[in-house]
Amino acid sequence: MRFFLFFIIIFFSKSAFAEFKPQQYILENGLEIIVLENNRIPAIANSIWYKVGSADEPNGKSGIAHFLEHLMFKGTEKLEPGEFSQIVSINGGKENAFTSKNYTGYFQLIHKSKLELIMSLEADRMKNIKLIEKEFENEKTVVLEERYSRVDNNPSALLSEQINAALYMNHPYRKPIIGWEHEIKNLSLDDVMKFYKKYYAPNNAIIVICGDVNLDDVVKIAKKYFGPIKPSKMEKRAWTDEPTQHAPRKITLNSKNTAIPVFERHYLVPTYTKSKKESLTLEVFSEIFGNSSTGMLFDEFVKNKKLATSASVYYHPDGFGHTSFAINIIPKKNVSLEEIEIYLDEYLNKIKKKTFNKEELQDIKKRLVNTTIFAQDSLYMGMRIFGSSLSTGYSLKEITNWTNDISKVSIDDIETYVPNIFNKKKSVTGYLLPVKE
C-alpha cells in the first residue's frame, strides 16, 4: 500500500507498439541504448535493464537477483548508502526498481535537464557498489519482511508460488523471484557480490529512455559516463529445459486468511522466443477466450452455467522456453472447486474442437492493436514495454512489428495451436480453500 519502493514483477501485460519510433545506438562496450522521443512534457523516464533475473541464480541461492536490486541503493565508492535516492528526490525525481525472472530494471522519472546527472549516477553503480556487512544484514531483514508481506501473509501469492514450483519441473523459472525464505537467510555478502560482478556490465545492459530528449544528446552523455566501463565476458544464458511431463499435478492450499475459494489451472505453453507464431496466436486467443468481461470462459462459467462469479485467463508471452497459460475461476457460493474442475475439463474438450468465427477474430485483433495508442499516454509505459521486451529476447523490429504480426493471426492458426494448450499432462491445478479458524 502506498509505498512500494523495490517491487517484483510477476506479470506485466504485453501491449502494442506500432506508433512508437524507437532510435537505437550501441556503444563500443556493448551497451545498447534505445530512445523513444516524447515531447509532451519536459521530462524523461530513464531506465537501465540488466539481462539477469531470478532464473540466473545459482542453485541454493534463490533471491540473489532481487536482494542485489535492494543493495544497488546502498552506496558506491562515491555515494553513501541511500544517497542515490536522496539525490534523485531532491532533484524532483521519482524512482523505483524491479526484478523479474529474466531481468532487473532501475528507473527514474525526472526533469529532462537532469539526464546527465542520473546517467552519471547509474553508470557509477554499474560497477562501483560498495557494501559493508552491517548494511547487508540490515537489508536482509528488510527483504525477509518484504517476503512476509507479499507472499507468506497472502494466500493467493502462496498458492502461485507452489503452482509455479510444480509447473516447471526442471527450468529455473520454478524458483520464486523473491527467493525461498531459508535461502534468503543463508545468502552472504560474497554470494551477492559475485553475482553483481558477473552480470552487471555494459554488454549485459540496455538503457531505455522515453521522453523529451534526442538520441544524439543521450549518446554523448552515455559515452562520457558508460563509455569507459569495460565489458565483461558474458556466457550465453543456457537454462535447463523442461523434460517431457507425464502427469498432471494438483495442489491444494488451505488458508485461514481468505474467505474466497479460487480455482487455478496453469498449462505449460511456449514463450514468444520459443515459438513466435504460436505465441502471437495465444495472445489473440487469450483475449477471445479469457477476457474477464467478454471472454468465452466468462460467458460459459459466469453467464450460461452460473457456476462462477469470475473467470479469466492470463498468458504472458515474455521469457525463454516455456511460460504459463493460466485460468482463474472464482466459484459462486455453494459451488465446489471440484464441480468447477469437472465442468472445465468437459468444456475445454469442446474448445479444442471448436471452429472460430472470422469477424469476431477481426474485432479482437483490433482491440489488441488499439492498445498501442493508449500505451503511449505516459512516459513510463513506453520505457517499460521496450525494456522488458528487449531483455526477454525480442528484437527491436519484432517489437515495432507487433501490431502487424498480431493482425496476421488467422483462424487457421487458432485452430492449429489452441488444441496444443490444453494438454492436461503439462498442467497444474491449484485449489485455494478457506478454512474456518
Partner: protein, 441 residues
C-alpha cells in the same frame, strides 16, 4: 543541455515553476456550470473524469451498499443492449468506461479514442439514464459483492481496514465499507437503485474534467447534449453529518495467527482550506509521505531493517480529516516499531524539522509536480480533484508558491496542533509478542 559535475550535485537546484502552468479552459456548458479542459492533441485519445457529490456515505440504514451496487450495474445492460452486448461494444471499440463510488462521490471514468467519442458518449448516456438492472445481473453482481465483504472477516488487510473504520467512525456513515454491509446487500431492490440515480445524479453536484484531443466546442456540444438533462428539481437530497470523533490514545489488537503483523495508526488531520494545509502537507512528506529518506523510513527501515514499508499520509473525507500511516513487521518487533513511530512523531512535534529537511522536501514537491502531467488520464484526475477541492484554475500557477512559502515555524505550529500524543491510536492485526496495555478488538 545543461552540464553537471559530481561536485555540483548539492549546489545546483533549479525550480521549474513555470512548467505547472497547464493551459486550462473552462467550458461553460449550461447556466453557471463549467467543465475544465486541457486540449492536448499529442495522441488521438480523450480522458474524461466526472463526479457527482453522492457516495456510499448517504446509503440508508438497512440498505448499505446501494450506491456501490448501482455503480457496478450501470455497464451490465442499458437501453436495448444486454449486459453481454454492452460490454462487447465497449471492448471492441477500445472504450474504457467505468463507474465507481467513494464515501463522498460517485465517479464516471471514460478513456477512449477520439474517433469513438460519439459512441462513447452514447454508451455513457445509456448507462447513466437507461440501465436495465435485470434481475439476473443484479443477483450476479450481488453475489460478487457479498464474497468480497466476507473477505473483510478473513483477509488480514481487509480486516485491518474494517476495524480501522470501526475505531475511527463508529456511529457515523463512514464506518461502513463503500461496498456496504453483508446483511444489507440482499435487501437492496431495483427501486433503490433507480432512486439512487434519480436523486443523486444532478447538475448541482456535478463536476467534469477532460484532457486530450477534444476542443472546447466539441466538449461543450457533448456536455450540452448529454448532461443538461440532469438539471432536476425537487430531488430528495441527503447529507452526511460532520464527524467529530475525539481519538483515544489506545493500542487495539486483533489477534490473528500470521507470520507478520500489520500496524495502522491515525490521529488528527487537517482541512483542505485550513491556512496550515501546506505546512501539514510538507510536514507529512518529511515524516513519512513517500520518499526513500522520510524520517519513518530512515529510522525504521534503513537504520534498523525492521520493515519493508512504513508510511504516513493525510486523508480527507468531506466530513472528516485525519492523519494516518502504517507498517508491517514480524510479530516480535511490533512493540519496537510502534515505539519508534511515536518517538518520531513526537520529535517533529517538539523540535520541528531542520532547514535542510525543509529545503529538500520543497525541492522534491516542487520539481516533481510536472511528472504528474504526462498522461491525459492523470491530467483529467488532477483537474477534477482541484475543482472538487473548491480551487480555481489559477491554482496551478500558485501551487509552487504555496509550497515555497512554508517555513520551519509553520511546520512547528501545525505539528504541535495535529501530532497529539493523546489523540493517536494504533491498530495491530497479527500475533505480536511483548505488546502491553492492549485493547482487544
Amino acid at each position: 543541455m545543461k552540464k553537471f559535475f559530481f561536485t555540483l550535485f548539492f549546489l545546483f537546484f533549479n525550480n521549474f515553476n513555470n512548467l505547472n502552468a497547464l493551459d486550462i479552459k473552462e467550458v461553460n456548458y449550461y447556466q453557471d456550470k463549467k467543465a475544465w479542459l486541457v486540449n492536448d492533441k499529442n495522441l488521438p485519445i480523450v480522458a474524461i473524469k466526472i463526479a457527482f457529490k453522492s457516495g456510499s456515505g448517504i446509503d440508508l440504514k438497512g440498505k448499505k451498499g446501494t450506491a456501490s451496487l448501482t455503480a457496478s450495474l450501470l455497464d451490465e445492460g442499458a437501453g436495448n443492449y444486454s449486459s453481454k452486448e454492452f460490454k462487447k461494444k465497449l471492448a471492441d471499440n477500445s472504450i474504457k468506461l467505468n463507474f465507481s463510488v467513494s464515501q463522498d462521490n460517485f465517479y464516471v471514468n471514460l478513456y477512449t479514442l477520439k474517433e469513438n467519442l460519439d459512441l462513447s458518449f452514447q454508451l455513457l448516456d445509456l448507462a447513466l439514464t437507461k440501465p436495465t438492472f435485470k434481475l439476473e445481473e443484479v443477483n450476479r453482481i450481488k453475489s460478487s459483492i457479498k464474497l468480497i465483504l466476507e473477505e473483510s472477516y478473513k483477509d488480514p488487510d481487509e480486516i485491518g481496514s474494517r476495524l480501522f473504520r470501526k475505531i475511527l467512525f463508529e456511529g457515523h456513515p463512514y464506518e461502513y465499507d463503500t461496498l456496504g454491509v453483508l446483511e444489507d446487500i440482499d435487501k437492496i431492490n431495483k427501486e433503490d437503485l433507480v432512486n439512487f440515480l434519480a436523486n443523486n445524479l444532478r447538475l448541482d453536484n456535478l463536476y467534469i474534467a477532460a484532457s486530450g484531443d477534444i476542443n472546447e466546442f466539441e466538449l461543450k456540444k457533448y456536455l450540452k447534449k448529454y448532461f443538461q438533462k440532469f438539471d432536476r428539481k425537487n430531488q430528495i437530497t441527503f447529507d452526511i453529518p460532520i464527524h467529530k470523533k475525539k481519538i483515544e490514545p489506545k493500542v487495539f489488537l486483533h489477534k490473528k495467527d500470521l507470520r507478520q503483523s500489520s500496524i495502522i495508526f491515525a490521529g488528527k488531520g487537517i482541512a483542505r482550506d485550513d491556512p496550515y494545509f501546506y505546512p501539514a502537507y510538507v510536514m507529512n512528506y518529511i515524516l513519512g509521505g513517500g520518499g526513500f529518506f522520510s524520517k519513518l523510513t530512515t529510522e525504521i527501515r534503513e537504520k534498523r531493517g525492521l520493515v519493508y514499508s512504513v508510511y504516513s499520509y493525510l486523508y480527507r473525507y468531506d466530513k472528516y480529516n485525519f492523519f494516518s500511516g502504517g507498517a508491517a513487521t514480524s510479530n516480535e518487533n511490533v512493540h519496537k516499531v510502534i515505539k519508534i513511530i511515536k518517538e518520531e512523531l513526537m520529535k517533529v512535534k517538539k523540535k520541528g524539522v531542520t532547514e535542510e529537511e525543509l529545503k529538500n522536501a520543497k525541492n522534491y514537491l516542487i520539481n516533481s509536480y510536472v511528472l504528474r502531467l504526462d498522461s491525459n488520464k492523470k491530467i483529467a484526475s488532477i483537474l477534477l480533484n482541484t475543482q472538487m477541492d473548491g480551487l480555481n484554475i489559477d491554482f496551478f500557477e500558485k501551487r509552487n508558491d504555496y509550497i515555497n512559502s512554508v517555513s520551519q515555524e509553520d511546520i512547528k505550529k501545525i505539528a504541535n496542533r495535529i501530532l497529539d500524543e493523546n489523540q493517536i491510536f494504533f491498530l495491530v492485526i497479527g500475533n505480536p509478542s511483548n505488546l502491553k496495555n492492549i485493547n482487544k478488538i
